[in-house]
Protein backbone atom coordinates (compact mmCIF):
# COMPACT_ATOMS: atom_id res chain seq x y z
CA UNK A 1 0.00 0.00 0.00
CA UNK A 2 2.69 2.50 1.07
CA UNK A 3 4.96 1.28 -1.68
CA UNK A 4 2.19 1.86 -4.22
CA UNK A 5 1.64 5.41 -2.93
CA UNK A 6 5.37 6.16 -3.16
CA UNK A 7 5.38 4.68 -6.65
CA UNK A 8 2.42 6.83 -7.75
CA UNK A 9 3.97 9.94 -6.20
CA UNK A 10 7.30 9.16 -7.88
CA UNK A 11 5.62 8.71 -11.25
CA UNK A 12 3.79 12.01 -10.81
CA UNK A 13 6.99 13.88 -9.91
CA UNK A 14 8.83 12.34 -12.87
CA UNK A 15 5.99 13.18 -15.28
CA UNK A 16 5.82 16.76 -13.97
CA UNK A 17 9.59 17.22 -14.29
CA UNK A 18 9.46 15.77 -17.80
CA UNK A 19 6.69 18.20 -18.81
CA UNK A 20 8.49 21.17 -17.23
CA UNK A 21 11.72 20.22 -18.96
CA UNK A 22 10.00 19.92 -22.34
CA UNK A 23 8.18 23.20 -21.76
CA UNK A 24 11.42 25.03 -20.92
CA UNK A 25 13.38 23.47 -23.78
CA UNK A 26 10.59 24.42 -26.18
CA UNK A 27 11.01 28.07 -25.21
CA UNK A 28 14.81 27.84 -25.30
CA UNK A 29 14.62 26.44 -28.85
CA UNK A 30 12.15 29.16 -29.89
CA UNK A 31 14.49 31.81 -28.45
CA UNK A 32 17.43 30.25 -30.32
CA UNK A 33 15.50 30.24 -33.61
CA UNK A 34 14.35 33.83 -33.01
CA UNK A 35 17.97 34.89 -32.45
CA UNK A 36 19.53 32.99 -35.35
CA UNK A 37 16.99 33.20 -38.19
CA UNK A 38 15.24 35.99 -40.04
CA UNK A 39 12.01 37.09 -38.36
CA UNK A 40 8.97 36.64 -40.63
CA UNK A 41 7.63 40.18 -40.30
CA UNK A 42 4.49 39.62 -42.40
CA UNK A 43 3.51 36.68 -40.21
CA UNK A 44 4.15 38.71 -37.06
CA UNK A 45 1.89 41.49 -38.38
CA UNK A 46 -0.82 38.98 -39.33
CA UNK A 47 -0.68 37.47 -35.85
CA UNK A 48 -0.77 40.93 -34.26
CA UNK A 49 -3.98 41.52 -36.18
CA UNK A 50 -5.49 38.22 -35.05
CA UNK A 51 -4.49 38.68 -31.42
CA UNK A 52 -4.76 42.45 -31.18
CA UNK A 53 -7.48 43.78 -33.44
CA UNK A 54 -9.82 40.84 -32.88
CA UNK A 55 -9.44 41.02 -29.09
CA UNK A 56 -9.86 44.80 -28.90
CA UNK A 57 -13.64 44.86 -28.35
CA UNK A 58 -13.53 42.43 -25.47
CA UNK A 59 -10.56 44.26 -23.89
CA UNK A 60 -12.31 47.64 -24.19
CA UNK A 61 -15.52 46.24 -22.68
CA UNK A 62 -13.87 44.51 -19.74
CA UNK A 63 -11.60 47.51 -19.09
CA UNK A 64 -14.47 49.99 -19.11
CA UNK A 65 -16.73 47.99 -16.83
CA UNK A 66 -13.90 47.11 -14.43
CA UNK A 67 -13.11 50.81 -14.08
CA UNK A 68 -16.80 51.57 -13.53
CA UNK A 69 -17.31 48.92 -10.88
CA UNK A 70 -14.03 49.84 -9.23
CA UNK A 71 -15.13 53.45 -8.93
CA UNK A 72 -18.43 52.36 -7.45
CA UNK A 73 -16.82 50.05 -4.88
CA UNK A 74 -14.15 52.60 -3.98
CA UNK A 75 -16.85 55.20 -3.41
CA UNK A 76 -18.62 52.91 -0.92
CA UNK A 77 -15.36 52.49 1.04
CA UNK A 78 -14.07 56.06 0.78
CA UNK A 79 -17.43 57.55 1.73
CA UNK A 80 -17.04 55.97 5.17
CA UNK A 81 -13.75 57.80 5.82
CA UNK A 82 -14.51 60.90 3.76
CA UNK A 83 -11.91 60.33 1.06
CA UNK A 84 -14.05 60.52 -2.10
CA UNK A 85 -11.52 62.86 -3.74
CA UNK A 86 -9.04 59.95 -3.98
CA UNK A 87 -11.28 57.71 -6.09
CA UNK A 88 -9.63 58.86 -9.34
CA UNK A 89 -6.14 57.91 -8.26
CA UNK A 90 -7.29 54.58 -6.81
CA UNK A 91 -9.11 53.62 -10.00
CA UNK A 92 -6.22 54.79 -12.19
CA UNK A 93 -3.54 53.05 -10.12
CA UNK A 94 -5.55 49.83 -10.01
CA UNK A 95 -6.18 49.89 -13.75
CA UNK A 96 -2.63 50.85 -14.69
CA UNK A 97 -0.68 48.70 -12.26
CA UNK A 98 -2.90 45.67 -11.97
CA UNK A 99 -6.29 45.30 -13.57
CA UNK A 100 -5.36 46.53 -17.05
CA UNK A 101 -2.50 44.08 -17.66
CA UNK A 102 -4.09 41.11 -15.84
CA UNK A 103 -7.55 41.47 -17.37
CA UNK A 104 -6.07 41.95 -20.83
CA UNK A 105 -3.85 38.90 -20.37
CA UNK A 106 -6.76 36.75 -19.25
CA UNK A 107 -9.13 38.02 -21.94
CA UNK A 108 -6.60 37.50 -24.74
CA UNK A 109 -5.86 34.03 -23.37
CA UNK A 110 -9.55 33.15 -23.61
CA UNK A 111 -10.21 34.92 -26.87
CA UNK A 112 -7.15 34.46 -29.10
CA UNK A 113 -4.95 32.09 -27.09
CA UNK A 114 -7.43 29.24 -27.19
CA UNK A 115 -8.08 29.78 -30.91
CA UNK A 116 -4.39 29.58 -31.74
CA UNK A 117 -3.81 26.50 -29.56
CA UNK A 118 -6.69 24.86 -31.44
CA UNK A 119 -5.31 25.99 -34.83
CA UNK A 120 -1.82 24.67 -34.14
CA UNK A 121 -3.24 21.50 -32.60
CA UNK A 122 -5.30 20.84 -35.72
CA UNK A 123 -2.22 21.51 -37.87
CA UNK A 124 -0.23 19.02 -35.83
CA UNK A 125 -2.75 16.17 -36.01
CA UNK A 126 -3.37 16.68 -39.74
CA UNK A 127 0.42 16.43 -40.35
CA UNK A 128 0.69 20.03 -41.60
CA UNK A 129 3.63 20.62 -39.22
CA UNK A 130 5.40 17.51 -40.55
CA UNK A 131 4.68 18.74 -44.08
CA UNK A 132 6.50 22.00 -43.29
CA UNK A 133 9.50 20.03 -42.03
CA UNK A 134 9.69 17.94 -45.20
CA UNK A 135 9.55 21.15 -47.26
CA UNK A 136 12.55 22.44 -45.29
CA UNK A 137 10.51 25.13 -43.56
CA UNK A 138 11.34 25.32 -39.87
CA UNK A 139 8.00 25.14 -37.99
CA UNK A 140 9.53 27.17 -35.16
CA UNK A 141 10.48 29.98 -37.53
CA UNK A 142 7.21 29.73 -39.49
CA UNK A 143 4.66 29.11 -36.72
CA UNK A 144 6.08 29.49 -33.22
CA UNK A 145 8.31 32.57 -33.21
CA UNK A 146 5.87 34.93 -35.06
CA UNK A 147 3.10 34.05 -32.59
CA UNK A 148 5.26 34.62 -29.51
CA UNK A 149 6.75 37.88 -30.85
CA UNK A 150 3.33 39.19 -31.94
CA UNK A 151 1.68 38.50 -28.56
CA UNK A 152 4.58 40.02 -26.64
CA UNK A 153 4.41 43.22 -28.70
CA UNK A 154 0.64 43.58 -28.94
CA UNK A 155 -0.32 42.91 -25.31
CA UNK A 156 1.08 46.23 -24.00
CA UNK A 157 -0.89 48.10 -26.71
CA UNK A 158 -4.11 46.31 -25.80
CA UNK A 159 -3.37 47.03 -22.15
CA UNK A 160 -3.11 50.76 -22.88
CA UNK A 161 -6.67 50.59 -24.24
CA UNK A 162 -7.81 48.70 -21.15
CA UNK A 163 -6.15 51.24 -18.82
CA UNK A 164 -7.64 54.25 -20.63
CA UNK A 165 -11.12 52.71 -20.88
CA UNK A 166 -11.06 51.75 -17.19
CA UNK A 167 -10.12 55.29 -16.17
CA UNK A 168 -12.82 56.74 -18.45
CA UNK A 169 -15.35 54.23 -17.06
CA UNK A 170 -14.48 55.31 -13.51
CA UNK A 171 -14.79 58.95 -14.54
CA UNK A 172 -18.26 58.39 -16.01
CA UNK A 173 -19.48 56.69 -12.84
CA UNK A 174 -17.99 59.37 -10.59
CA UNK A 175 -19.22 62.32 -12.64
CA UNK A 176 -22.64 61.10 -13.81
CA UNK A 177 -23.77 58.34 -11.44
CA UNK A 178 -22.27 59.35 -8.10
CA UNK A 179 -22.31 63.05 -9.05
CA UNK A 180 -18.89 63.72 -7.52
CA UNK A 181 -16.54 66.43 -8.73
CA UNK A 182 -14.89 65.49 -12.06
CA UNK A 183 -12.03 67.86 -11.22
CA UNK A 184 -11.24 65.90 -8.06
CA UNK A 185 -11.13 62.69 -10.10
CA UNK A 186 -8.70 64.14 -12.64
CA UNK A 187 -6.59 66.03 -10.12
CA UNK A 188 -6.06 62.99 -7.93
CA UNK A 189 -4.84 61.05 -10.97
CA UNK A 190 -2.47 63.90 -11.85
CA UNK A 191 -1.15 64.05 -8.33
CA UNK A 192 -0.68 60.39 -7.49
CA UNK A 193 -0.08 58.50 -10.72
CA UNK A 194 3.55 58.38 -11.94
CA UNK A 195 5.09 57.35 -15.22
CA UNK A 196 6.81 54.41 -13.48
CA UNK A 197 3.34 52.99 -12.69
CA UNK A 198 2.51 52.94 -16.40
CA UNK A 199 5.88 51.45 -17.33
CA UNK A 200 5.47 48.71 -14.75
CA UNK A 201 1.99 47.86 -16.07
CA UNK A 202 3.23 47.68 -19.64
CA UNK A 203 6.20 45.47 -18.72
CA UNK A 204 3.77 43.12 -17.00
CA UNK A 205 1.55 43.09 -20.09
CA UNK A 206 4.49 42.17 -22.32
CA UNK A 207 5.46 39.31 -20.01
CA UNK A 208 1.86 38.10 -19.95
CA UNK A 209 1.84 38.18 -23.75
CA UNK A 210 5.00 36.09 -23.78
CA UNK A 211 3.56 33.60 -21.28
CA UNK A 212 0.20 33.12 -22.96
CA UNK A 213 1.69 32.69 -26.42
CA UNK A 214 4.41 30.35 -25.17
CA UNK A 215 1.86 28.12 -23.43
CA UNK A 216 -0.58 28.00 -26.31
CA UNK A 217 1.98 27.26 -29.03
CA UNK A 218 3.55 24.61 -26.81
CA UNK A 219 0.18 22.98 -26.12
CA UNK A 220 -0.81 23.22 -29.77
CA UNK A 221 2.49 21.78 -30.91
CA UNK A 222 2.25 18.74 -28.66
CA UNK A 223 -1.32 17.83 -29.53
CA UNK A 224 -2.11 14.22 -30.28
CA UNK A 225 -5.23 12.07 -30.34
CA UNK A 226 -7.48 13.62 -32.99
CA UNK A 227 -10.26 16.11 -32.38
CA UNK A 228 -10.45 15.19 -28.69
CA UNK A 229 -6.74 15.94 -28.39
CA UNK A 230 -7.29 19.39 -29.90
CA UNK A 231 -10.04 20.04 -27.34
CA UNK A 232 -7.83 18.94 -24.46
CA UNK A 233 -4.89 21.07 -25.67
CA UNK A 234 -7.11 24.11 -26.03
CA UNK A 235 -8.59 23.79 -22.55
CA UNK A 236 -5.20 23.08 -21.00
CA UNK A 237 -3.63 26.06 -22.73
CA UNK A 238 -6.29 28.42 -21.31
CA UNK A 239 -6.10 26.97 -17.79
CA UNK A 240 -2.29 26.82 -17.70
CA UNK A 241 -1.69 30.29 -19.10
CA UNK A 242 -4.35 31.86 -16.86
CA UNK A 243 -2.74 30.30 -13.76
CA UNK A 244 0.75 31.26 -14.93
CA UNK A 245 -0.37 34.84 -15.56
CA UNK A 246 -1.84 35.15 -12.06
CA UNK A 247 1.18 33.57 -10.34
CA UNK A 248 3.74 35.52 -12.33
CA UNK A 249 1.75 38.70 -11.61
CA UNK A 250 2.71 38.52 -7.93
CA UNK A 251 6.39 37.97 -8.62
CA UNK A 252 6.49 40.61 -11.36
CA UNK A 253 4.88 43.17 -9.05
CA UNK A 254 7.48 42.35 -6.40
CA UNK A 255 10.34 42.62 -8.90
CA UNK A 256 9.12 45.86 -10.47
CA UNK A 257 8.62 47.31 -6.98
CA UNK A 258 12.26 46.62 -6.10
CA UNK A 259 13.69 48.17 -9.27
Amino acid sequence: MILQMVNTLGMFVLATCDQLGKFTLFFAHAAYIAATTRLKITKVIAQMEIIGVESLTIVVLTGTFSGMVFALQSYIGFKRVGGEQFIGSVVALAMIRELGPVLTGLMVTGRAGSAIAAELGAMEITEQVDALRTLRIDPFQYLVVPRIVAATIILPFLTIFSMICGIIGGYLVCAYVLELSPEDYINSIRTYVELSDINGGLVKAAVFGLILSWVRVYKGFYTYGGARGVGISTTQSVVTSSIMILISDYFLTKMIEQL
Binding site: M123, D130, R133, T134, L135
Partner: protein
Amino acid sequence: MPKNVIQLIDVHKKFDHKEVLKGIDLAIPEGKMTVVIGRSGEGKSVLLKHMIGLIKPTSGKVIIDGVDITQLDQHDLDPYYQKFGYVFQFAALLDSLTVYENIGISLIENNVHSDQVLQVVKEKLALVNLEEDTLYRYPAQLSGGMRKRVGLARTLVTNPEIILYDEPTTGLDPITSRVIHELMYDMQQRLKITSVIVSHDVEIFKYADYVALLQDGKIQFFGDAKTIWESENPYIYQFIRGLSDGPIQVDVAHAA
Protein backbone atom coordinates in the same frame (compact mmCIF):
# COMPACT_ATOMS: atom_id res chain seq x y z
CA MET B 1 19.53 -5.01 -59.21
CA PRO B 2 20.04 -1.21 -58.99
CA LYS B 3 21.85 0.36 -56.06
CA ASN B 4 19.90 0.99 -52.87
CA VAL B 5 19.14 4.60 -51.95
CA ILE B 6 17.59 3.92 -48.55
CA GLN B 7 18.54 1.08 -46.27
CA LEU B 8 16.81 0.23 -43.01
CA ILE B 9 18.79 -2.06 -40.75
CA ASP B 10 17.15 -3.78 -37.77
CA VAL B 11 14.84 -0.84 -37.09
CA HIS B 12 12.75 -1.12 -33.94
CA LYS B 13 10.17 1.42 -32.79
CA LYS B 14 8.31 1.44 -29.52
CA PHE B 15 5.50 3.86 -28.63
CA ASP B 16 5.05 3.77 -24.85
CA HIS B 17 4.86 0.03 -24.29
CA LYS B 18 3.75 -1.03 -27.76
CA GLU B 19 6.44 -2.18 -30.17
CA VAL B 20 5.25 -1.28 -33.68
CA LEU B 21 8.38 -2.12 -35.66
CA LYS B 22 10.24 -5.21 -34.48
CA GLY B 23 13.39 -5.30 -36.58
CA ILE B 24 12.84 -3.97 -40.07
CA ASP B 25 15.43 -4.79 -42.71
CA LEU B 26 14.55 -3.17 -46.01
CA ALA B 27 16.48 -1.74 -48.95
CA ILE B 28 14.87 0.63 -51.46
CA PRO B 29 16.29 0.35 -55.02
CA GLU B 30 17.18 3.56 -56.87
CA GLY B 31 14.90 4.82 -59.65
CA LYS B 32 12.26 2.19 -58.97
CA MET B 33 8.79 2.13 -57.52
CA THR B 34 8.63 0.11 -54.31
CA VAL B 35 5.30 -0.52 -52.61
CA VAL B 36 5.04 -1.32 -48.91
CA ILE B 37 1.79 -3.13 -48.20
CA GLY B 38 0.30 -4.36 -44.97
CA ARG B 39 -2.86 -4.32 -42.90
CA SER B 40 -4.22 -1.15 -41.34
CA GLY B 41 -2.47 -0.28 -38.10
CA GLU B 42 0.62 -2.38 -38.90
CA GLY B 43 2.89 0.67 -38.83
CA LYS B 44 3.39 1.33 -42.56
CA SER B 45 3.20 5.11 -42.15
CA VAL B 46 5.52 4.89 -39.15
CA LEU B 47 7.98 2.97 -41.31
CA LEU B 48 7.75 5.59 -44.07
CA LYS B 49 8.35 8.43 -41.60
CA HIS B 50 11.52 6.67 -40.41
CA MET B 51 12.91 6.89 -43.96
CA ILE B 52 12.86 10.68 -43.90
CA GLY B 53 13.74 11.19 -40.24
CA LEU B 54 10.32 12.48 -39.15
CA ILE B 55 10.33 9.67 -36.57
CA LYS B 56 13.49 8.37 -34.92
CA PRO B 57 13.71 4.64 -34.24
CA THR B 58 14.09 3.19 -30.74
CA SER B 59 17.04 1.24 -32.18
CA GLY B 60 18.45 0.42 -35.60
CA LYS B 61 19.86 2.38 -38.53
CA VAL B 62 18.43 4.25 -41.50
CA ILE B 63 21.20 4.67 -44.07
CA ILE B 64 20.92 7.28 -46.83
CA ASP B 65 23.99 8.00 -48.99
CA GLY B 66 26.10 6.03 -46.53
CA VAL B 67 25.01 8.17 -43.56
CA ASP B 68 22.94 6.88 -40.64
CA ILE B 69 20.31 9.66 -40.43
CA THR B 70 19.05 8.46 -37.04
CA GLN B 71 22.16 10.07 -35.54
CA LEU B 72 21.47 13.48 -37.07
CA ASP B 73 19.64 16.33 -35.37
CA GLN B 74 16.89 18.35 -37.02
CA HIS B 75 19.30 20.87 -38.53
CA ASP B 76 21.61 18.24 -40.06
CA LEU B 77 18.61 16.48 -41.62
CA ASP B 78 18.02 19.49 -43.86
CA PRO B 79 20.06 18.28 -46.89
CA TYR B 80 18.20 14.94 -46.71
CA TYR B 81 14.83 16.68 -46.71
CA GLN B 82 16.02 18.34 -49.92
CA LYS B 83 16.44 14.93 -51.59
CA PHE B 84 13.01 13.78 -50.44
CA GLY B 85 9.44 14.63 -51.19
CA TYR B 86 6.69 13.38 -48.92
CA VAL B 87 3.08 13.09 -50.03
CA PHE B 88 0.94 12.80 -46.92
CA GLN B 89 -2.07 10.52 -46.49
CA PHE B 90 -4.56 13.38 -46.36
CA ALA B 91 -2.28 15.72 -48.35
CA ALA B 92 -1.53 17.86 -45.24
CA LEU B 93 -2.14 21.08 -47.17
CA LEU B 94 -2.00 24.23 -45.05
CA ASP B 95 -5.67 25.17 -44.54
CA SER B 96 -5.08 28.89 -44.36
CA LEU B 97 -3.21 29.08 -47.68
CA THR B 98 -4.51 28.93 -51.25
CA VAL B 99 -3.48 26.19 -53.67
CA TYR B 100 -0.95 28.61 -55.20
CA GLU B 101 0.56 29.40 -51.80
CA ASN B 102 0.56 25.74 -50.80
CA ILE B 103 2.37 24.57 -53.91
CA GLY B 104 4.80 27.47 -53.95
CA ILE B 105 5.38 27.65 -50.18
CA SER B 106 8.99 26.44 -50.29
CA LEU B 107 9.81 29.11 -52.90
CA ILE B 108 7.78 31.89 -51.24
CA GLU B 109 9.50 31.25 -47.91
CA ASN B 110 12.89 31.48 -49.64
CA ASN B 111 11.98 34.90 -51.09
CA VAL B 112 11.82 33.81 -54.71
CA HIS B 113 10.21 36.49 -56.89
CA SER B 114 6.44 36.07 -57.22
CA ASP B 115 6.53 35.89 -61.07
CA GLN B 116 8.96 33.00 -60.88
CA VAL B 117 6.91 31.28 -58.18
CA LEU B 118 3.77 31.55 -60.31
CA GLN B 119 5.57 30.09 -63.30
CA VAL B 120 6.88 27.10 -61.32
CA VAL B 121 3.51 26.55 -59.62
CA LYS B 122 1.67 26.55 -62.97
CA GLU B 123 4.20 24.10 -64.39
CA LYS B 124 3.78 21.68 -61.47
CA LEU B 125 0.01 22.10 -61.55
CA ALA B 126 0.02 20.99 -65.19
CA LEU B 127 2.20 17.99 -64.29
CA VAL B 128 -0.50 16.72 -61.90
CA ASN B 129 -3.28 17.48 -64.42
CA LEU B 130 -4.98 20.28 -62.53
CA GLU B 131 -6.57 23.33 -64.14
CA GLU B 132 -5.21 26.81 -63.44
CA ASP B 133 -8.56 27.92 -62.02
CA THR B 134 -7.82 25.90 -58.87
CA LEU B 135 -4.85 28.15 -58.07
CA TYR B 136 -6.65 30.58 -55.80
CA ARG B 137 -8.98 28.10 -54.12
CA TYR B 138 -8.49 26.95 -50.53
CA PRO B 139 -7.90 23.26 -49.64
CA ALA B 140 -11.37 23.03 -48.06
CA GLN B 141 -12.86 23.81 -51.49
CA LEU B 142 -11.11 20.88 -53.20
CA SER B 143 -12.13 17.22 -53.54
CA GLY B 144 -10.01 14.47 -51.93
CA GLY B 145 -8.36 13.55 -55.22
CA MET B 146 -7.56 17.18 -56.05
CA ARG B 147 -6.04 17.71 -52.61
CA LYS B 148 -3.76 14.72 -53.13
CA ARG B 149 -2.69 16.07 -56.51
CA VAL B 150 -1.95 19.47 -54.99
CA GLY B 151 0.07 17.67 -52.30
CA LEU B 152 2.07 15.94 -55.02
CA ALA B 153 2.57 19.20 -56.94
CA ARG B 154 3.84 20.87 -53.73
CA THR B 155 6.36 18.05 -53.34
CA LEU B 156 7.49 18.30 -56.99
CA VAL B 157 8.44 21.98 -56.55
CA THR B 158 11.49 20.92 -54.55
CA ASN B 159 12.63 18.60 -57.41
CA PRO B 160 13.07 15.57 -55.16
CA GLU B 161 15.09 12.49 -56.07
CA ILE B 162 12.93 10.28 -53.85
CA ILE B 163 9.20 10.62 -53.24
CA LEU B 164 7.51 8.89 -50.31
CA TYR B 165 3.75 8.46 -50.70
CA ASP B 166 1.67 7.69 -47.62
CA GLU B 167 -1.48 5.85 -48.74
CA PRO B 168 -2.03 8.05 -51.81
CA THR B 169 -5.34 6.48 -52.81
CA THR B 170 -7.01 5.85 -49.46
CA GLY B 171 -10.54 7.20 -49.45
CA LEU B 172 -10.67 7.72 -53.21
CA ASP B 173 -13.03 6.06 -55.68
CA PRO B 174 -11.51 3.42 -58.05
CA ILE B 175 -11.39 5.80 -61.02
CA THR B 176 -9.62 8.60 -59.12
CA SER B 177 -7.33 5.98 -57.53
CA ARG B 178 -6.35 4.80 -61.00
CA VAL B 179 -5.66 8.37 -62.11
CA ILE B 180 -3.41 8.87 -59.06
CA HIS B 181 -1.61 5.56 -59.71
CA GLU B 182 -0.99 6.52 -63.34
CA LEU B 183 0.19 9.93 -62.27
CA MET B 184 2.70 8.43 -59.83
CA TYR B 185 3.90 6.00 -62.47
CA ASP B 186 4.20 8.80 -65.01
CA MET B 187 6.22 10.95 -62.55
CA GLN B 188 8.53 8.06 -61.84
CA GLN B 189 9.08 7.29 -65.52
CA ARG B 190 9.46 10.88 -66.64
CA LEU B 191 11.53 12.28 -63.80
CA LYS B 192 13.43 9.06 -62.92
CA ILE B 193 12.39 9.42 -59.33
CA THR B 194 12.69 6.71 -56.70
CA SER B 195 9.22 6.13 -55.25
CA VAL B 196 8.22 4.42 -52.03
CA ILE B 197 4.48 3.95 -51.69
CA VAL B 198 2.64 2.80 -48.62
CA SER B 199 -0.66 1.31 -49.67
CA HIS B 200 -3.11 -1.51 -49.25
CA ASP B 201 -4.52 -1.13 -52.71
CA VAL B 202 -3.52 -4.22 -54.76
CA GLU B 203 -4.15 -2.31 -58.02
CA ILE B 204 -0.80 -0.55 -57.51
CA PHE B 205 1.09 -3.77 -58.37
CA LYS B 206 0.43 -3.04 -62.06
CA TYR B 207 2.67 0.01 -61.81
CA ALA B 208 5.18 -1.00 -59.13
CA ASP B 209 8.59 -2.64 -59.53
CA TYR B 210 8.94 -4.15 -56.06
CA VAL B 211 6.60 -5.08 -53.23
CA ALA B 212 7.39 -5.37 -49.52
CA LEU B 213 4.87 -6.77 -47.04
CA LEU B 214 4.89 -5.50 -43.46
CA GLN B 215 3.30 -7.85 -40.96
CA ASP B 216 3.86 -8.30 -37.21
CA GLY B 217 6.40 -5.48 -37.22
CA LYS B 218 8.68 -7.17 -39.76
CA ILE B 219 9.11 -7.30 -43.53
CA GLN B 220 7.75 -10.77 -44.30
CA PHE B 221 8.21 -10.53 -48.08
CA PHE B 222 10.19 -8.50 -50.58
CA GLY B 223 9.98 -9.31 -54.25
CA ASP B 224 9.22 -8.39 -57.84
CA ALA B 225 5.79 -6.81 -58.29
CA LYS B 226 5.31 -8.31 -61.75
CA THR B 227 5.40 -11.88 -60.43
CA ILE B 228 3.63 -11.24 -57.16
CA TRP B 229 0.48 -13.16 -58.08
CA GLU B 230 2.61 -16.25 -58.64
CA SER B 231 4.41 -15.92 -55.31
CA GLU B 232 4.02 -18.78 -52.89
CA ASN B 233 5.13 -16.83 -49.86
CA PRO B 234 2.27 -17.63 -47.45
CA TYR B 235 2.00 -14.04 -46.17
CA ILE B 236 1.78 -12.40 -49.58
CA TYR B 237 -0.45 -15.19 -50.90
CA GLN B 238 -2.97 -14.60 -48.11
CA PHE B 239 -2.74 -10.80 -48.15
CA ILE B 240 -3.23 -10.07 -51.84
CA ARG B 241 -6.12 -12.51 -52.11
CA GLY B 242 -7.72 -11.26 -48.91
CA LEU B 243 -7.96 -14.75 -47.41
CA SER B 244 -8.87 -15.33 -43.79
CA ASP B 245 -6.75 -18.52 -43.56
CA GLY B 246 -2.99 -18.19 -43.40
CA PRO B 247 -0.15 -16.94 -41.24
CA ILE B 248 -1.75 -13.46 -40.89
CA GLN B 249 -4.08 -13.70 -37.92
CA VAL B 250 -7.43 -12.09 -38.70
CA ASP B 251 -8.44 -10.34 -35.51
CA VAL B 252 -11.95 -8.92 -35.97
CA ALA B 253 -11.48 -6.29 -33.26
CA HIS B 254 -8.19 -5.21 -34.87
CA ALA B 255 -9.72 -5.15 -38.32
CA ALA B 256 -12.62 -3.01 -37.14
